[in-house]
């Protein structure tokens, strides 16, 4: 169950997308998200879907994995689509029964929103699938480094992110283990009333917190023992480098997105 959470999971590979500089991928993903949000015309979403699909094909990540990344948000998608479907009452009605009224506009908006959210998640998942968490935070640190001039703690933030990302799988594994252990003592995780479910969470949460705090303490000690003292004067083992393919990818993507947004404005 918990293993379905694929966000932040990295699938090693050597495809074109994998080899791009992580900064390139972040910039393109940001542009992609912006396009999705600015675009109010279905054409924009279609273009976005094509772009996303192309990226998935080039990255050679199995389509199944992309679909899996959508699994945790199925509920959100369902609720969004239902709300839009039933609450939008303007436009040409296509179905009416007692107080239920479905209009063409409602149906359109409903599909539009679902596709938009799905693309959003699929696009960002592709980023994390093809980029190791360490490279990702390195890239974020570099992209945000101008902010350090105004005393923004860029390095600290990046370090926090690295650590958080690093511990996501560990915590998931730990949760799984604790859940199994408590299930073995008869905790009823599936089924039962809401009150029972809430009660079943306590034997999981408490050991999890305790172990998270313990781990944090151990990590802090380990970092201090290695003389960690923040980002000042610290050099990087991996230097990020923009290559020709990065320039090409960025130019292509940004042109593509710009074109889509222009189409949206003028259509």
């Amino acid at each position: 169950m918990l293993r379905d959470i694929t966000l932040g999971q990295y699938f090693p590979g050597t495809s074109f997308v994998h080899r791009l500089d992580p900064r390139t991928k972040i910039i393109i993903t940001a542009a992609f998200i912006a396009t999705l949000f600015i675009g109010s015309n279905p054409v924009c979403l279609e273009a976005g879907a094509v772009f996303c699909a192309a990226a998935v094909i080039v990255s050679r990540i199995p389509v199944k994995m992309i679909l899996k990344s959508l699994k945790p948000i199925i509920m959100i998608l369902a609720v969004t689509s239902l709300l839009n479907l039933f609450l939008i009452n303007s436009g040409i009605p296509i179905f009416e029964w007692k107080f239920i009224k479905i209009t063409y506009t409602g149906l359109r908006t409903s599909i539009f929103m679902v596709v938009r959210i799905a693309l959003l998640v699929a696009g960002t998942s592709l980023l994390t699938y093809t980029t190791s968490p360490i490279l990702l935070t390195d890239a974020i640190e570099r992209l945000m480094s101008p902010l350090a001039k105004i005393k923004f703690p860029v390095h600290d933030l990046a370090m926090m992110m690295t650590i958080a990302l690093r511990f996501v799988p560990t915590l998931i594994e730990e949760t799984d283990k604790i859940m199994s252990a408590q299930k073995a003592r008869g905790v009823d995780m599936d089924g039962g009333r809401i009150a029972d479910k809430v009660k079943a969470v306590i034997p999981i949460i408490i050991p999890l917190f305790i172990s998270a705090v313990r781990r944090a303490g151990e990590l802090a000690t380990a970092m201090e023992c290695r003389c960690y003292r923040g980002g000042e004067g610290r050099t990087k083992m991996r230097q990020l480098k923009f290559g020709v393919s990065d320039v090409l990818a960025i130019l292509f993507s940004l042109y593509f997105m710009a074109a889509v947004i222009l189409v949206n404005i003028f259509l």
């Binding site: 293993r3 699938f11 090693p12 199944k64 994995m65 730990e174 283990k177 604790i178 199994s180 252990a181 408590q182 299930k183 073995a184 003592r185 008869g186 905790v187 009823d188 089924g191 306590i202 034997p203 408490i206 050991p207 305790i210 172990s211």
Partner: protein, 287 residues
Amino acid sequence: MAILKAEGLTYVYGSGTPFEKTAVDHVDIEIERGEFVGVIGHTGSGKSTLIQHFNGLLQPSSGKVFLDGKDIWEDKKNIRYIRFRVGLVFQYPEYQLFEDTVYKDIAFGPRNMGLPEDEIDRRVRQTAEAVGLSEDILERSPFELSGGQKRRAAIAGVMAMQPEVLILDEPTAGLDPKGRDKILSKIKEYHRNTGCTILLVSHSMEDVARYASKILVMNESKLFCYDEPSAVFGRYDEIIGMGLSVPQITRVFNKLKNRGIDLHEEVYTVKYAAELIANELRKRGKI
């Protein structure tokens, strides 16, 4: 009839991902009631995965698991009751402690079973004693205890459910030799007193040789063999080839054999070894 039985049991982790891994591969086994089974195998051989099938924490990718002749997955809703009958103590079980007193933590399992309060009280005190925790510890917070005490409290938490089959995954990992012996002898005592079936996963051949009546050997996700200790340790070369070891005394006897002193017996406990040597010396008229 066998209390536990697996038929073609196979389990695949992360099927459909690049990390796919068959952790248990077509295991067929029958374990008789009352047996004390030592489960051994190299790291990653699938021991932990295998035992989690016996109380329905993992559902086989294919194959079946029977408890007392009944397929445990026949009725999914009843899987919780299977877990009361087959108790499983995980590796490092102290991380599952969560209540504010040791008493409440041990009572957690029995309470989930829906037992009456007086029965719960009786079981908590009885198992606490069985694992060697004194009365005054019961009212303390589990987080104030020493590592060994926590371990025993966690084991008691499962024992208190009085399962017919008790499975322990490396219950002595990370303990000092004294703590190890204490826990193992308590488990053995529990086995003797209740006549339940025990599966004990361990990396220590000495411990397995000392306590087990049968040994289950896992090798690279497959069941290598399930047999009497003497038969298992008799396959000396194969066991060593798997990266496992045999009890020191078995190694000594093997060396003796290589030097021409063949006692024609599979030896795995020091006590038996001493008898054999004494006999041999007597035969040769040395004592």
